[in-house]
Amino acid sequence: MLTPVTDADGAPFWRYAARGELRVQACADCGEPRFPPRPCCPHCRSFTSEWRPTSGRGRIWSYVVPHPPLLPDYAAQAPYNVILVELADAPRIRMVGNLVSEPGAPLGSFPPDQVRIGARVQVVFDGDGLPQWILERP
């Protein structure tokens, strides 16, 4: 599995994720959330930002089901789903993730043919602090 190669802007996201918190960067001056994290606010050009807690709830905006040829660790789990989640608190922020059967379960644990656009999902975290998603009402 590929571990996140973070940069200075993204590092806080992963530090919060390791504590089981899904936070997004927001402008400390005008309040606009932004993703991916960046040094400057595109709305008011402020360089001050904060990491705002989210409810961890969202809806599936789209999804794909990759099949091999894939990198070996991923080929072993294929076919698996990759979902794009629109956050309930900030609908214009969409995060790539995986819909799994329970926290810590592998990528292929939720049947790909049961993934639906619009389904409500809730963030969970695996043992390494990687965000995952489960159905809000299984």
Partner: protein, 382 residues
């Protein structure tokens, strides 16, 4: 006349053969394509004073210049974003020549992606998109990234896999007429398409371009100089690049409106400086690394309304004799995937009247570069 409108022309094109594997290396293929294009134009290599290429090109300007014996170069440009830069090579040369910075320009692409490694398998290399937000979750390949947009597109507008098949079929049918195409004499049927293996659902094998070895080049000079060349000039009528506000490379879903991509930005400039409209385009060469890029581009470049790109492909619209004959050499899906450069040369062939799938009397052609990344486009006329 203002700007670059009809101020320059493509006067030479060249290409190597296309195959899954060619024995020669990329540099050798580049030299062969460039020399073929100059020979086609009737221009000596020593007269070349401008070069343009785009990223992911491994053959260096210095190496090429020395190997084929160019003159002193006064302009050289390398455009970013891989396949999004194909048309911009011609645009940069046209701008440089129109501005008096150079007189004879060469653009080229050489690739060994058929027999070489795939970029996404090299996990040590930082990819253009911010990989920390995608790759750990198994969104690994360009096909996965575009499939995410495609799934939403199908969902939002009621487009179907049959619409994507229409794109793949039009390209394959034209390749079946083109002896240089990798898929010459290899017909495609709906049953083959619908029963083929998945690459990244909803994209199947035939929604993906070919992995190809090959090289192409073209030569750009002023309209005045073009009159003395061996071939009839194909004028660069309008050209544009497009990197829209908020754009995010392949993963445009970090944009407020992910289904309007770079085509929309390029198209606004392209049409603003043109003497004709989408209704007047006789033939189109639209970047087809993946089939869904075609309906998205048809919308972006104004051939139909938003969400109508799928329906536009119905009734043979993209076939010879249809509303907009598409990728008449076979495109990236069925001629060769050489990062879109074959689309430029095919546009020139159409306007010379020498395509293997000639649109009778074709006088105008749209050529586009990779949609889904910062892109570029050309309107050519004869």
């Amino acid at each position: 006349m203002t700007g670059i409108k009809d101020a320059t022309a493509i006067v030479g094109i060249g290409q190597t053969s296309f195959a899954k594997h060619l024995p020669e290396d990329e540099r050798t293929l580049a030299c062969r394509a460039v020399l073929a294009a100059l020979d086609d134009a009737g221009i000596a290599p020593g007269e070349v004073d401008a070069l343009a290429s785009y990223t992911m090109e491994e053959t260096d300007e210095v190496e090429l210049a020395k190997a084929v014996g160019f003159g002193d170069l006064t302009f050289f440009s390398k455009i970013g974003f891989g396949g999004g830069g194909s048309c911009a090579t011609v645009a940069h040369l046209a701008a440089a020549i129109a501005a008096g910075q150079a007189t004879v320009g060469v653009a080229w692409r050489s690739r060994k992606r058929g027999s070489g490694p795939r970029p996404w398998t090299n996990t040590a290399v930082q990819l253009p998109t911010p990989a920390q937000w995608t790759r750990p979750f198994g969104l690994l390949r360009p096909a996965d990234e575009i499939a995410m947009l495609a799934r939403r597109y199908l969902h939002e507008y009621g487009a179907t896999r049959d619409h994507l098949f229409n794109v793949a079929l039009a390209c394959r049918n034209r390749a079946n007429q083109n002896p240089a195409a990798v898929m010459y004499e290899r017909p495609l049927t709906r049953e083959m398409y619908m029963s083929s293996r998945w690459i990244s659902e909803p994209l199947c094998l035939y929604d993906n371009c070919l992995e190809t070895d090959g090289a192409l080049a073209c030569v750009v000079v002023s309209a005045e100089r073009a009159r003395d060349c061996r071939r009839a000039p194909v004028y660069v009528h309008s050209a544009a690049q497009g990197l829209p506000a908020q754009h995010h490379g392949m993963v445009n879903y970090w944009n407020d409106d992910p289904l309007t991509g770079p085509a929309w930005a390029a198209a606004r400039h392209l049409w603003k400086h043109a003497d004709f409209t989408p209704d007047d385009v006789d033939v189109a060469q639209i970047y087809d690394a993946f089939t869904p890029l075609v309906p998205l581009s048809l919308e972006g470049y104004g051939f139909c309304g938003r969400g109508e790109g799928g329906a536009f492909t119905e009734g043979g619209a993209l076939e010879t004799g249809g509303r907009l004959p598409l990728n008449t050499g076979g495109g990236g899906l069925s001629e060769a995937y050489v990062h879109g450069f074959n689309l430029i040369n095919e546009g020139v062939k159409q306007l010379r009247g020498t395509s293997t799938a000639q649109v009778p009397g074709a006088a105008t052609c749209l050529v586009t570069a990779g949609e889904g990344v910062p892109t570029s486009a050309l309107l050519l006329r004869n």
